[in-house]
Each structure stands twice: as structure tokens, then as C-alpha cells.
Amino acid sequence: MSFWRRVACAVLLLVLAISLAANWLAPAGYAKQDREAAGAPPSHAHWLGTDEIGRDRFARVLYGTRISLFLAPAAALISTLLAALVGGLAGYLGGTWARAAMTVIDLFLSLPWLFLLITVRALLPLNVSPAFSVLVTFLILGLLGWTAAARVLCATGSSLRNADFVWQARASGIRGTRLFWIHVLPNMKPVLYAQFWISIPAFILSEANLGILGLGVAEPLPSWGSLLKELEGLVSVGEEPWKFVPLVLLVVVVTSFQLVLSKQDEVAA
């Protein structure tokens, strides 16, 4: 394992460990409102200051890490698998399958999914538990976020269909799903890894935007997405650089994920 991959793994484990230790590191919790110190800068009592209604930002970053760090990669995995199944398989099968898949993908890319999400919210009870709401949100993101990669995988599958090693495998008597799973799919890894890596921050940010529709992480639960939304108050954020901490953390985690996945990216000697 390369040095940088080891560093990346260590960073991810450290972030995971810190988020799991939130109960000890931030015993006051993420919801408690210190109303006398609303919007306060960092201090001994509040290491990253407080938000607009006095909640400790450090606690919210720690607890938010749990939600985003577990669920975003899970949703990214769902979208990656779907992209592989729909795009990769269709491209590999070719012909009508590929054409039908590409048409469906293009439609998916164009439709205003906002309204489906609004409908999903309407179907959920208002008193749904925050945990359930979060799960549903990330599940939906995973189910909707596969289309871009699927298109690229379709093209990849089409290219691989007539590759020499595939012909060789066919000549050896390997057919059907075995051929796809064992020989073709591993060669789609570069796109699958890229899809997975891109999806993690994309879903974290999308989760915050879904709050507009009543989905996403409900108050008072924090998430990285909701913390990053504070950056939209640009006029004030320049004077309050501690608000960038969730962004820095996200960049570190995302970069670490990329380094961990980077084995496939190594250029052949």
C-alpha cells in the first residue's frame, strides 16, 4: 500500500473515530441552545463558536459527521451499482438494450425530479422520525444519482464488448453473466470509482438542498450539508472563518476517499 493511501486510510479512520466519540468530546450535545451566546465566535466553551441560535458548532460538526460519513457513501454505493447495472450492462449487451438504456438515461437527466421529491415528502407523515427521514433522503439520492455515470458506462461497455480479451474469454467458453461480472465489469472500475467519489460530496450537498422540500435531515439533527449551507451567507462568512471547518473536513474526507480508491488510477509503468 502506498504511503499516501496509508495516510488517507488513517485520516478516514480518525474522522470516523472522532465522530463516534462525539458523546464524550461534546457532551452538551448538538441541540442545546446557549441563547446567551448565539452567533458567538470560538471560545473555551465553544471551540468552533455557536450557530445563530446558540448551538455548539463543534458538537454539530461531530454529530453531523456520523450522519454524512455513513449515509453518503452508502447512497454513493447504491448509485454506483445502479449505474453499473443499467449503463454498464446495457452497453455490454449492445443493440436495442443499449439504445433503450440510453433513451431512459437521457430522459432521467432531463426530468424535473424536484416534483417527485415533493411528492415523496407529501406521502411521508409529518411526524416521521428524523432518522427515517434521513434514510429516505439518502436512499432517494442514491436511486436518482446514477444517470450521468450510467451514460459513460454504457459507452465503456460498448467499447469493451469487442475487446480482445472479451473475445478470448468467449472463445474459452465463458458466457453471459459470468463474462460480464468477472471480465467486463472490473474494467469499468475507473468510471465506477469516479462515480462513487463524486457522489459522496454531491449527495452531502444535495441532502441540505432537499431541506427546502421538507426532506433531508430534520431539526435539530445536524449534517454536513446543513452546516455547509452557512457558507451561503457570504457577507458574514469572510469575517467568521471558523464556519469553513465543515468544508475543510469534507474536503479532507473526500480527498482521502479518492486516495484510498486510487490504486486503479496508477499509471502503468
Binding site: 441563547r35 448565539a38 445563530e52 441560535i53 409529518l126 411526524n127 428524523p130 431539526e219 457570504l234 457577507v235
Partner: protein, 535 residues
């Protein structure tokens, strides 16, 4: 010196004659928060269109936003009959529309007929529609007109502040205006340019033609952060309604650009769903329909914290349905609710609620859990809902805060009644209680907590119906006030709305703008646009 005196004097005279003695002073720039939907003053229903109507429309009378008194406009004087059904206006003579078409009583009659056309469904028209039937107009001379309504209209003269007069004859239709400015250019999605109306009839005390400004540029900018950025960069001259956090940042600067005009007429409030057929559990309906429950919730909410934390001190705890800024109509006998979780709990316990392991339960053992919905994108309401969530947690009530996009919220509120509690605000553009008649009448669609009741479902709602009708038909302001004071008392006793805060009217005005004097009535900063000057 004498040799040049005469030519100079002649030149000055010619210049004065050409400019009509006007004090031409640049372009004012500010932002509209949304796209204007119409330039037809009779069809105005959104804020952006209202702003344009205010700046371009000529009205018979004008409510002075500073003194709150009604002043002559296109009408030099007026007389209201004892039964408040008829108003007679005497009009200015020699006035023309922006395209040169002469103005006369015929235009007033035309405007009234258009406004009161039932097919128009105009909000402005509906304020005059106190009874069935059309109004009658009688033109006694080109400068005199009587308008008779089928039923008394309370505050009849003030209502004409919202009626911009249209030309009956101009080919330009609603684009021919009588106000200080006229629409010169409109770039959809980008900006509206208003230019000085060359035929504006008004002059200042020195006889100089108004308006002083050459033009007003209205940029369409929904985002408040960007609006603030542009103000700081001097790309715009004023912000009509300023957020509290930005107020503090501007106020801490050296120039006196941030203005706090005090409590506005607007309020933030929450209410519970009291609709009998609402698709919510019966036991919850029982809670929400109990005045004791509602008052207990009200008592448990810390309004001081809401004003201090959410609005950074630029708001006041609300007392009742009327803001103290509405000096005449506010019931000064009402006192602010004192936050007391203990008293709230005691009141609930008398109703049969009890605490069990920190969770409040009703007599049947149901946990007291309900949701508060509010519109997403309004961070004040989101913060208030979260703070209320914590306040109610102290008395064992679990609240789920749900933010929804506005149309979805509206559907739950007005059509499906599929909600438990809502947190929203009420924007009051006027002072008269008649303007909110449709909120208090139990049969009305806007009787938010229980719309369109066939008959009043509670004795107190029946009393409110009677009181509102009484004040609407009374001519004597004292009698009207008595009735409406009682309505306010009932509103506080029964708490169909839990009034939370009255926000202050905050604005920002560049130091370059002269004669600005921000007020609480809409439009706060440019109510005297015709007299604004730029350095």
C-alpha cells in the same frame, strides 16, 4: 457686470422655462425581490407589482406613510356621506397622463367601473366590496365625481390610496400614468426602468416640478445576500426591508445607513389546526381545539429569546393581533405574555395532561407530539421553529419541525388541512381592521385555523363575527375601536393565533440619498420617492 447681466438672466429664464424649474437629480437604484407579474394597477397582487404601482400610479388621496394621515392627491378635497356609502371627490384641473391625455372625472369613473368588475377578482376591488351590487358613479363636472357603494365601506377614503387611476381614452391603456414615474423599459428577469413622468402635476413648496429624480432602476434580485453585497458596493442606493444580521453589520460602520423605524405592522405567529374534518388523529384535534392547551403553549414560548436571538433585538414580543405600531387600533390594555413553563405545565395538568419520564401525555396516555410546518427558505421562521421546539421540550412536548416549499405548505393549509401546527407571518399593508376582515370572519376562506365555517363553531367566533361586522358598518371611529378592541381581547383569551413577534422595520439607505425618512408603512424607504434626491 451690467453688460452681461441681461443675457445671463434671459438664459436662466429660458433654462428654467425648459426644465419647468425642476431639480433633476440622477437615478435611484434598488432591488425588487421578485419579477413583477403585471403593470396593470388593478390586477396587482404581488409585492413587486405593488412597488411599481406605488411609483407610477396617480391616486385621488394618498396615505402619508409618515404621519399616517390621509392627504389630498389628484383630489383636492372629498366628502364622505354619514352612512359611509358615498364619497364625493373634487379633482385637480389641468392634469394630464404621462402621454398627454387629459385627466378628468371620466377617468375616475372608468377606473372604478373596471376595478369593481366582478370578473376582475381584484384584491383592491374586493376591499370596496362590502355588499352585493355595483357602485354607481355620478360625474357632476369634469372635476367632480360621486361614487356610491351598495353598502357602507369603513375607512372609505383611505382605500383610495390603493386605486391608481387609469385613462379611459389613452391608447397606451395602463401604461399611461398619473404618478411621478412611468415605466420606460422592462427587461424580463433583469430590471425595470422607471423614468420621470414629464406631465406629473405636482410641484414642491418652491414651485419646482416633482419628482426630483430623473429615473429609478429596479433590479430583480431575490437573493438577500447578493442585494446586501450590491449595497455595500454602492451598486444600489437602498434596501427596503433589511435582515437583522445585515442591519447590525451596517450599523457598526461609520456611515449612518442602517435605519430601524421601530416595530412594523407585521407579525409572526403560529396556529393549530382546528378543522373538524382534518386528517389528523382525533385526540390531537381535541388538544388543538382546547383554548387552555393553546394558551399553555403560548405561555411556554420564550418570546424575548425569539426577539433577542433570531431578530438580534430588532423585534418586539407580540401582544396580540395588532402591532403597537398601529397606534390608533392597538388595544393598549393588552399585556405581553410572560414566558412561564411552570404555569403552562400547571394549566395543562388541569386539563388532564401529565408528565411521565419527561414526556407529556394526555388523559388517554397519548404522548404529546406534534409537528410545526413552516416555509423553507425563511431562516427566521426556521430558527423560531427550532427554538419553540426546545421551549416546548422543557414541558415534555416533542415537536417535529418540518420545512416545506411554499406551494406544498399552502396546499396543506388551505385545501387538504393536513397539518398540525403552522408557523407563518402576516404582512399588514394597511392600518384599518377592515383589511383583515377575512381573517376574522368565521365563514371566510382566510380564517386560517378553521376556514369556511358554515356557522361559527364556537361562541367566541360568533362574537368575533358580530364585532367585526359592527365595526365595518359603524361610521364613528370610537365605536369601531371599541368593537375591535374587544376582538383583540378575545383573540388573546382564546389564542387561535399564538402571536410571537412584531418585527422592526429595518432598512438601509445610502448616504447619497437625500430627503429619505424611513417609516414602518410599506413602502418603508421610498414612500416619498418624488422628493428623494441624490447627492
Amino acid at each position: 457686470m451690467m453688460r452681461f447681466g441681461k443675457p445671463i438672466a434671459v438664459a436662466a429664464f429660458c433654462l428654467a422655462a425648459l426644465t419647468g424649474g425642476a431639480l433633476a437629480q440622477g437615478q435611484l437604484r434598488f432591488c425588487l425581490r421578485s419579477e413583477p407579474k403585471t403593470f396593470d394597477p388593478l390586477k396587482v397582487e404581488d409585492d413587486a407589482s405593488m412597488a411599481i404601482r406605488y411609483l407610477t400610479g396617480g391616486v385621488l388621496v394618498r396615505l402619508n406613510r409618515q404621519t399616517q394621515a390621509v392627504e389630498p392627491g389628484l383630489a383636492t378635497s372629498w366628502k364622505i356621506s354619514k352612512d359611509s356609502r358615498q364619497i364625493t371627490f373634487k379633482l385637480h384641473s389641468g392634469v394630464s397622463f404621462s402621454d398627454g391625455t387629459p385627466f378628468s372625472a371620466e377617468d375616475v369613473a372608468y377606473t372604478v367601473q373596471q376595478l369593481m368588475d366582478p370578473a376582475l377578482h381584484s384584491a383592491t376591488g374586493d376591499t370596496f366590496r362590502s355588499g352585493t351590487g355595483k357602485p354607481e358613479t355620478k360625474i357632476t363636472s369634469p372635476t367632480e365625481i360621486s361614487i356610491t357603494f351598495p353598502a357602507p365601506v369603513a375607512g372609505l377614503d383611505r382605500q383610495f390610496d390603493q386605486v391608481a387611476i387609469l385613462s379611459a381614452h389613452s391608447p397606451k391603456k395602463e401604461m399611461a400614468v398619473l404618478g411621478p414615474f412611468m415605466v420606460a423599459d422592462y427587461k424580463p428577469g433583469a430590471a425595470v426602468l422607471l423614468k420621470r413622468n414629464p406631465n406629473y402635476w405636482k410641484t414642491d413648496e418652491q414651485g419646482r416640478k416633482l419628482p426630483y429624480l430623473d429615473s429609478i432602476q429596479l433590479d430583480i434580485q431575490p437573493n438577500r445576500d447578493v442585494e446586501m453585497l450590491r449595497f455595500k458596493r454602492n451598486e444600489i442606493d437602498l434596501i427596503n426591508t433589511l435582515d437583522s444580521e445585515y442591519f447590525d453589520k451596517l450599523a457598526s460602520g461609520s456611515q449612518n445607513v442602517a435605519h430601524d423605524a421601530g416595530p412594523s405592522l407585521d407579525s409572526e405567529q403560529m396556529w393549530f389546526n382546528e378543522v373538524a374534518k382534518a386528517p389528523i388523529p382525533e385526540y390531537k384535534k381535541k388538544w388543538f381545539r382546547s383554548a387552555t392547551f393553546r394558551r399553555a403553549i403560548s405561555q411556554a414560548i420564550n418570546r424575548n429569546d425569539l426577539t433577542r436571538v433570531v431578530f438580534r433585538g430588532h423585534a418586539q414580543p407580540a401582544v396580540g393581533p395588532v402591532s403597537p405600531a398601529n397606534k390608533f387600533w392597538f388595544n393598549s390594555k393588552l399585556k405581553p405574555e410572560v414566558c412561564s413553563p411552570d404555569a403552562a405545565l400547571k394549566a395543562l395538568q388541569k386539563e388532564g395532561f401529565h408528565l411521565e419520564n419527561g414526556t407529556l401525555k394526555d388523559m388517554q396516555g397519548n404522548e404529546v407530539v406534534f409537528s410545526i410546518i413552516t416555509n423553507s427558505g425563511n431562516k427566521y421562521r426556521e430558527h423560531m421553529a427550532t427554538m419553540i421546539q426546545e421551549d416546548l421540550q422543557k414541558i415534555g412536548i416533542h415537536v417535529n419541525v418540518v420545512t416545506l416549499d411554499f406551494p406544498s405548505l399552502l396546499e396543506r393549509m388551505t385545501q387538504t388541512s393536513d397539518y398540525e401546527a403552522i408557523l407563518l407571518g402576516l404582512t399588514n399593508t394597511g392600518l384599518d381592521p377592515n383589511e383583515v376582515m377575512n381573517v376574522w370572519l368565521s365563514s371566510s376562506e382566510n380564517h386560517q385555523w378553521n376556514p369556511s365555517e358554515k356557522t361559527p363553531e364556537t361562541p367566541w367566533e360568533a362574537e368575533v363575527d358580530n364585532l367585526m361586522r359592527a365595526q365595518a358598518s359603524a361610521a364613528d371611529p370610537k365605536k369601531r375601536k371599541e368593537s375591535f378592541d374587544r376582538v383583540q381581547e378575545i383573540a388573546v383569551e382564546q389564542a387561535p393565533f399564538i402571536y410571537l413577534v412584531n418585527r422592526n422595520a429595518l432598512s438601509a439607505i445610502s448616504a447619497n440619498v437625500q430627503n429619505a425618512s424611513p417609516v414602518i408603512l410599506v413602502p418603508q424607504t421610498y414612500w416619498n420617492a418624488e422628493r428623494l434626491l441624490l447627492k
